[in-house]
Amino acid sequence: MRLRSLAGGVAVCAALALAACSADSDPPASATDSVLTVAVPDDIQTLDPMYANFARAHNALQQIYDTPVNLETQDRGNGQLVGTPDKLKGSAFESWERSADGLTYTVKIRQGMTFHDGSPVTAEDVVYSFDRALNTKGGANWLLTQIAFVTKPPVVVDASTITLTADKPSALAIQALYMDGLAILDQDEVKSHATTDDPWAEKWLAKNAGNGSGPYKLTSWTPDQEVVFEAFDGYWAGAPAIKKIVWKIVPSAAQRLALLRSGDVDIAESLPPDQLASLKGADGVTVLSAASQNVSIVGMNNGRAPLSDKALRQGISYAVDYDRILSQVYQGEAERLYGPIPKGAATSLGDTIGYKQDVEKAKQLVGGSGYDGATVKIAFDNSKQLHEQIAVLLKSQLDAVGVTTELEPLTSAVFSERKAKKDLDMYVDESLAWINDPDYILSLTFQCEVYGNYADYCNQTVDDAIAKGWAMEADDPVRVALFENAQRALVDDAPWLFLAQPNYRMAMSSAVQGFVVRQNEVPFYYDLSLKG
């Protein structure tokens, strides 16, 4: 036992249920085995699954609630475990069958599944959860109506069967249902908190963990301080290996790193590249690094001068020193991104398309464009250090080819608002598609007039591919050709600077086993176990 003499630190350690002292040798193995302590940077924004939009909310909700379907764990063979939406397994949906016209799904609801309080998960609960998603304004509504094309709640056929009907066929209808927005809620509980002003109990569910059926229950929440989850031993797939998860909310990355090094926590979330690099060779610490489909980009405003000029955007695309961004900002822990569809997503053309730095060509294109020397502002969210680094590098590279630039640091809220209102020239951003399919990715960011099309881009070839792609099977050669064309068109139009695919990285104690990198990059603690 190490000395923690200030104010009787030994007692402090004992009182900790051994969680923070797991690196010490004294505590009995059985106790340390069952507690996982995680240092996270921030607190939960909302507990209403349909409105979750930030990492911590997803992180909590994924443990508390089951979704209709889940990601099957796949072993990549190199010791890496991944979960992607192209391999699904049933969760609340035990199995499903699609009708010949592709519109109706006959779904078997898993029997014997219970909520945390022991009451059964019924077909009515599932239907209610869909109904709530369709009647509230969160992300789940968008997934159902815009991706699955489901606008009506499912219908109960019998106690173990429902039918889900879409307005038009969608290749991604079931894939969209793995996301935590479609959490299965206990309708009796939620209804008991509904009021006439708030028929879907949005106020209550935003700040209370409902009676979910997921592998963990949220048992204690001290704001900005600590969140505790305890295992739900009645989980349908079997009791979780780790009995208790403790989140310590530690806003400073340097302190999260220090806590991991000292063994006070088992996982340190969201460490920046320089701190992860400092862990190289550290005793008892593993840094997981996996290819990711998260894309690091700089959007350009295609809808207003001067960047509405295609030749200027192409010129800028040639001016960027991509290698320097990979090595300097991401310290080499990233792959180059060449186009709108990242490597790892279906139909990606990888490095067969895209721009490489060519300063002469950049100068030519900029010179030959209609660019009049107006100042181009490079905006970034000033809470994101890496985005600032990208903006700074970009500025010098663009200045070198004759484009006058200015940095525009903004607070998160201002950045989001002006981005959504298409009121920024260039913006440094990141985007992780939760479904690795070109139709999902393009419809979210490049479809004409769609909300998330912050670059204000519009191209008929791309929109055609998006529209036609939905009804086709993922491996249909016609569909593949459509999206390959769309990628070429997008690269030629250069609405974004396609910079990088930064690796997904997580620093953890070597005792943590079974970490699965899921498509949405939200850890699922049910996968994990601790080596004694």
Partner: protein
């Protein structure tokens, strides 16, 4: 009588100042660019839903109408709801304010203690090694940023020497049952000795960091005024009359030197009660300072308003108490 009218006047000032702060904060938070809805909506939405959310929050209404609605809620004790935490601002502050106040009280007590002791001794023995050391610590305390000091303190006492508990906020383990919200007080009241030790241990590093930075200017002020008083004619007369040196310092010099120091203490205490963002950030201390900054980043108006107005009230209250205190100790302020 004169005292009563003075107090009444101060009370009116207090109310007018708070109202002024309310108006200014309201206008400034709303006039600054940034609408919280866009950040919270995320990309999976459409403009109609965003507009509906803005309407629901009343953010599309004219500023005066919004202000009247805010005041209406305020008199009913409703500070609004934080969009960033989904909780009511009252409950958010209910958990964060005690964290800040407990740390501030701890820090100010330690700061006053060391500042007065060291300041007085340094003035009494001006040419000693001790006085030089005090000089050094004083300059260090006023010139070193809290953020840096906090980081160094953790590096030394937790990471290297391993004699301090990890910087994970207010307590390791189970907090005591809630009575006042002050962990140390609640632990005492519920006779939870484990929690008392644990919460005191967590207070030490951030408390000492703040005690050094806020105590340093106090110490320098105390020393300066003490030096002045010690050189004044009445002290020299006292010395000539053979009053023992210790009695001369404690009974005759100190009370006169203390007065300006109390103003300094009030300023520092007011500052601490507003929440010390950087120290809270480094020590993962769940206080109002970091809460306010996070809310500003998200353009989350209700909590920003609440924190600013609360801090202003606390400041004004601390000053009021100081002035009343002066009224009784210092005969000059009664004229």
């Amino acid at each position: 009588m004169r005292t009563a009218s003075y107090l009444a006047r101060r009370l009116v000032y207090f109310v007018v100042s708070v109202l002024g702060v309310l108006v200014i904060t309201f206008v400034v938070t709303r006039a600054l660019p940034g609408n919280p809805v866009y950040l919270l909506a995320g990309p999976l939405t459409d403009q109609a839903k965003v507009d509906a959310a803005i309407r629901e929050l009343g953010l599309d209404r004219p500023l005066p109408a919004q202000f009247v609605a805010y005041l209406g809620d305020l008199v009913h004790g409703d500070l609004g709801t934080s969009l960033r935490t989904s909780q009511s601002v009252v409950s958010d502050l209910g958990s964060r304010w005690p964290a800040t106040a407990e740390l501030a009280l701890f820090a100010i007590v330690v700061a006053v203690g060391w500042a007065l002791l060291v300041g007085t001794l340094a003035a009494v023995f001006p040419r000693s090694v001790f006085a030089r050391a005090a000089d050094f610590v004083g300059s260090l305390g006023v010139s070193v940023p809290e953020f840096w000091l906090a980081t160094v303190v953790i590096l030394v006492f937790f990471t290297s020497l391993d004699i301090a508990p990890p910087p994970i906020g207010r307590i390791s383990g189970t907090p005591p049952g809630t009575i006042t919200g002050f962990y140390t007080v609640d632990a005492l009241l519920t006779a939870d000795w484990t929690a008392l030790r644990a919460s005191l241990a967590q207070l030490l590093l951030p408390g000492l960091t703040l005690a050094l930075t806020t105590g340093a200017p106090m110490m320098r002020t105390a020393r300066e005024f003490m030096t002045g008083v010690l050189g004044s004619p009445y002290i020299r007369a006292g010395r000539a009359l053979g009053i023992p040196p210790a009695r001369l310092v404690v009974r005759h010099a100190l009370p006169n030197a203390l007065l300006p120091v109390t103003t300094m203490i009030a300023t520092m205490f007011g500052y601490l009660l507003g929440g010390t963002v950087m120290v809270e950030f480094v020590f993962a201390w769940p206080g109002v300072g970091k809460y306010a900054v996070d809310s500003i980043t998200a353009s989350d108006y209700a909590p920003v308003m609440a924190v600013v107005v609360l801090s202003a009230m606390v400041y004004l209250l601390v000053y009021l108490v100081t002035d009343v205190f002066h009224l009784f100790v210092d005969p000059r302020s009664r004229t």
